[in-house]
Symmetry: C2
Subunit: 307 residues, 2 copies
């Protein structure tokens, strides 16, 4: 008898583990190894940037892919990889909110890090969170094999750097007010958000074991939901209100930023998101992996979310 | 017959290899993997930040320690580690020069990165250079063993993060105008510059092989020259002119920043630098390593430099 997969209890369990691990590791990192004049502001800013929320989509993708590839559950490689991916995301938000970038004063209803701690501390907190991601992936203790540590650092550094997230941010900056083609818009988002989402899936797989065919399936899945995430973001920017979103709705249009909705129209963008969802689900079926229910449920969540 | 070690030709050869490798790897990273709308500004800013100079002390320490521990010369682990360490240093200068930090408009006689490319691009270029350091340490090709890749990422991430360079910067920010004790000043500099200099030595050693005793010796050496470097910096801020330094002399005093000279006086600070030099040289002798001439010559260079 097959048991229907329930996303809610799975997510609750994973999120509890991730929140606990983030709290623990960021606290350890920000209190240990530093002498009597601990830079209290920096440490507080790092904790503030990581705590209190967000969807934790990247950790969930890591943990779902780890489960699909038979990685051991618990305190090991997968949980570290999940937190490392979230630290990269968290640092990017801190820097992205700064006055020289998007100049946002609120995130998730709270003052942004530079508003709360000043710009200099926000800059350093982002820098230190990026380093901490790689610290988490390379523990002294033998909970992750050296080969896995190297592979996790390889995947994460490429997704974060100039051919990944930072590169996408730079294209985004340079694109305000320009007429992009759909191919150009897709390339920007592939780098800006897609690479880290896809890398999260592949980092999860690096914690387990998977055939070449399964890795190709997971790569296709990761690319499709990475893009779908952004298309849905653009749709919600038009259709949702600020209270539901937890951020200012209609901001992209106001900033004259190209979006999937401005390019394709709302109806075609909605159909495109559904199409990407179906691509992701098909890739899972083709992967030959058995335990893909969590990954499938996350694909549903990405496309059907309301915030 | 023992051959006297000549620092100048050794340095010239190492620097040529480092400059070539930095050029190559930063160029590859900033042109490959990115589609038709390459973020040209970001790539140019990254190259600008890395090219054109500096003493390249961190790469030299990596390569000297690699040589002392019998690491293979050439294109392998040591050269990647040397460049990775320099990329972390380069990114820290880009962020440190920004208006919200030191607000410097000139570095090495050229406009700083944010002056040349704008603040947003400078922020992202620093972020991407940090990621690139970890990319360099985790190549797909099999030039570094997985165990070495993991160890190099471990050493570098800890030296760069909140218990290293970023933490030291935060203490520095918070210390302007305060009366620090010598212990507090030493702790600040240990984090801000010492950890990365020491990590450079240990990264070199991770590329070769060394006994536990040798590693302790190298650690002591790295800590001593890391601190000596900063003491000499403080001395030069008082005794050298801006043209020789290539940066504004007397800046620390003008900014009311605590220094070794303000705390100890010039004469005691000079004696302290010499004492640290001697500690470093003794640690090399105690390390049991044979080929330490380059490391010894770099200790001389750090203390006797005029800029």
């Amino acid at each position: 008898m097959s048991v229907r997969f329930e996303l809610a209890p799975w997510m609750a369990a994973q999120l509890a583990a991730v929140e606990h691990a983030l709290d623990t590791w960021v606290s350890i990192a920000t209190t240990a190894g530093v002498g009597h004049r601990a830079p209290a502001d920096l440490m507080a800013a790092m904790r503030y940037a990581v705590q209190g929320g967000g969807k934790r989509l990247r950790p969930l993708l890591v943990l779902a892919a780890a489960q699909a590839t038979g990685a051991p559950a618990g305190q090991g490689a997968a949980l570290r990889a999940a937190c490392a991916s979230e630290l990269i995301h968290a640092y990017s938000l801190v820097h992205d909110d700064m006055p020289c970038m998007d100049n946002d004063v609120l995130r998730r209803g709270k003052p942004t890090v530079h508003v709360q701690f000043g710009e200099a501390v926000a800059l350093l907190a982002g820098d230190a969170l990026q380093a901490l991601a790689f610290e988490l992936l390379t523990p002294d203790v033998d909970v992750i094999s050296a080969a896995q540590q190297a592979q996790l650092c390889r995947l994460l550094s490429r997704a974060a750097g100039c051919a990944g997230m930072a590169g996408g941010q730079a294209i985004d900056l340079a694109s305000v007010g320009l007429n992009l083609t759909e191919a150009q818009l897709r390339e920007m988002h592939r780098l800006k958000t897609g690479e880290l989402l896809q890398a999260s899936v592949m980092m999860g797989a690096a914690c387990g074991s998977a055939s070449a065919q399964s890795l190709v399936g997971l790569q296709t899945y990761g690319a499709a939901i990475g893009l779908a995430f952004q298309v849905v973001d653009d749709i919600l920017d038009v259709t949702a209100d600020s209270a539901t979103l937890g951020k200012t709705a209609g901001k992209d249009a106001a900033a004259n930023k190209p979006t999937y909705v401005s390019l394709m129209g709302l109806s075609a963008a909605t159909a495109y998101a559904q199409n990407l969802h179906d691509q992701a689900v098909r890739a899972l079926a083709d992967s030959g992996l058995a335990d893909v229910q969590a990954l499938q449920a996350l694909a549903d969540l990405v496309v059907n979310r309301s915030c």
